[in-house]
């Protein structure tokens, strides 16, 4: 089975995340870049499926040069090779532009299964997997907490507000995963060393067959008008429980008309 797992480098949530004042895009230099957490679950699921069914796992990322750290992480976990979409023309692409670029790269690579995390911690749009399914014309099996492949059939448990849906389809397909699905492995020392020798192909816009008029900030379908830091919350009242903490909390709720 030919599995492509899409990963994204995001600013570390634990550091201060900012937008750039010049072009209002994510300031990638202000924060440490880390692999998006849910992408680790996607890589793990790809590796588990490969271990069960054979085949190859290719990592695909789109991002600036420094996103190669994220590729190395996925390779160190055990993926076989990688494709890095890197081109200044891609900077500032919105979800539509990104999905176009990724879909073109996926067509070039070829796949039986595409796996992604269900959303990224920076933009949190949660739309990329659905957009890829739309662009590639393949089944959308998203928000999966369980994936089972049997020959050319695939079944997932799709998380819903009330529990989950059992969904079935035929490969090729696009899957996105939630963190309930598995426990991502830590790269071993051997894995880290081996990752250094694994092939990473860099593709620009032209190499991947990407339509330059569909990507980049200037061609986005939306724009940021302006932005500002959210005003800080006013300091609250903190009391120590002296056996009446619950009563005091109830008094506070009553003062706010919640009870």
């Amino acid at each position: 089975m030919n599995i492509v797992v899409c990963v994204k480098q995001v600013p570390d949530t634990a550091t201060e995340r900012k937008l750039r004042s010049d072009d209002k895009t994510l300031d990638r230099d202000a924060a440490d870049g880390v692999i998006n957490e849910l992408c680790e679950y996607a890589v793990e699921e790809a590796l588990l499926l490969k271990e069960a069914h054979g085949g190859e796992v290719t990592v695909l990322t789109m991002g600036p040069d420094k996103a190669s750290d994220t590729i190395r992480k996925a390779l160190a976990m055990g993926a076989d090779k990688a494709v890095h979409l890197v081109d200044d023309a891609l900077h500032g692409s919105d979800a539509l532009g990104t999905s176009h670029a990724m879909a073109q790269a996926l067509k070039k690579i070829g796949f039986d299964l595409v796996i992604l995390g269900s959303e990224s911690t920076d933009a949190r749009t949660g739309v990329l997997a659905a957009m890829l399914a739309e662009r590639l014309g393949v089944p959308q099996l998203t928000f999966a907490k369980k994936v089972e492949v049997d020959g050319s059939s695939i079944a997932v448990q799709r998380v819903t507000d009330y529990g989950y849906d059992k969904v079935e389809a035929t490969l090729p397909a696009v899957v996105s995963v939630v963190e309930k699905i598995n426990e991502p492995r830590y790269p071993s020392f051997k894995g880290i060393m081996a990752a250094k020798k694994k092939p990473v192909e860099k593709l620009g816009v032209a190499d991947a067959g990407i339509d330059a008029s569909q990507v980049g900030l200037a061609n986005s379908w939306s724009e940021v008008v302006d932005f500002a830091a959210a005003p800080p919350r006013a300091a609250g009242t903190i009391v120590k429980d002296e056996g009446d903490g619950g009563v005091k909390a109830a008094e506070f709720l009553a003062s706010k008309k919640f009870v």
Binding site: D161, Y162, T237, D241, A250
Partner: protein, 317 residues
């Protein structure tokens, strides 16, 4: 006045509050047209949509629409976009509706904005990003604005609309039938309000200590008519089901009141709840970062404080 399409969210025919919020918003932007998908449409549903300003109600209530993942709803909306030429499409910023919005954007070559908390004149959307740390104003510049609005972000105001019903038959393409829903498994916990819709959310975290002890959280929630949430630590430990997780990899909630019990308030959790209007925290650790957000905090053992609070609320009723 142009139509504004509003995708109705309902659970077996019961309309969710967010739909009424969207209709209220849509009235400022044009003539609201509610779009009903799947079985469950009724005279009662029709009345409720009309009472909140729906001038038109497009009804596509065949099971075909909901038997497959997302794509048939995109077929329907794309068909309506083409026939009605709306000024905008509004959906709730739920996981599934965002996916519908995303695919519709690709299909109609339009821009999409997600996690919107308000819409101003000229279809400029307010977004809260980076876990509530930054407020952004954005607008769609190409095609039709497709906007996913967060539940609980805007008020519900009733205003009568004509509610003219129009049955729509949608040709669901073979491609859209590629991912088939074969079974819906319900893991609902009681009759509590839906997490993202609830006016009050009571969440438990690592400090709750066990699955059994979550009954303390549930009892407090029930005394307030609240939804129950859980931190990542609690869902990872298997104490509470995954779909109730609040935070960066779970749900984002903006209730009137958020009560955090035994939750330290790591940045990943704060990302899911810090737009709550009022925050109350109970935690043993006086240094817990949740207290930086709290309007009222109790430093103490939740096993003492939470039952006492529940009891006190019952007394005051």
């Amino acid at each position: 006045m142009s139509e504004v399409l509003v995708l109705v969210e309902h659970v077996e025919g019961q309309i969710k509050k967010v739909t009424l919020e969207l209709l209220t918003l849509a009235r400022k932007l044009g003539a609201p047209s509610a779009v009903w998908t799947g079985p469950g449409y009724s005279a009662e549903a029709k009345a409720k949509l009309a009472e909140h300003g729906a001038e038109k109600i497009y009804v596509a209530d065949s099971a075909d629409i909901t038997d497959y993942v997302v794509a048939p709803k995109v077929d329907l909306l794309a068909q309506l976009v083409s026939s009605a030429s709306p000024a905008a499409v509004l959906v709730a910023a739920t996981a599934e509706a965002k996916e519908i919005a995303g695919r519709l954007a690709v299909r109609t070559d339009s821009g999409v904005l997600t996690d919107v908390v308000g819409i101003e004149e000229g279809l400029v959307a307010d977004q809260s990003i980076f876990g509530g740390g930054v407020n952004v104003r954005a607008r769609v510049t190409k095609g039709l604005p497709i906007i996913a609005v967060r539940p609980n972000a805007s008020p519900v105001e009733a205003a009568a609309g004509a509610g003219a019903e129009e049955q729509v038959s949608v040709a669901v393409s073979e491609a859209s039938k590629a991912a088939r829903v074969v079974e819906r498994v319900k893991e609902e916990k009681g009759a509590r309000p839906e997490l993202t819709e609830a006016a009050i959310v009571v969440s438990g975290g690592r400090g709750v200590g066990s699955a059994e002890n979550f009954s303390l959280i549930e009892k407090l929630a029930d005394s307030l008519g609240a939804a129950v949430g859980a931190s990542r630590a609690a869902t990872d430990a298997g104490w509470y089901p995954h779909q109730f997780q609040v935070g960066q990899t779970g749900k984002t909630v903006s209730p009137q009141l958020y009560i955090a019990a035994g939750i330290s308030g790591a940045i990943q959790h704060r990302a899911g709840m810090q737009t709550a209007k009022t925050i109350v925290a109970v935690n043993k650790d006086p240094e817990a970062p949740i207290f930086e957000l709290a309007d009222f905090g109790v430093v103490g053992d939740l096993n003492q404080v939470v039952p006492q609070l529940t009891e006190e609320i019952a007394k005051r009723k």
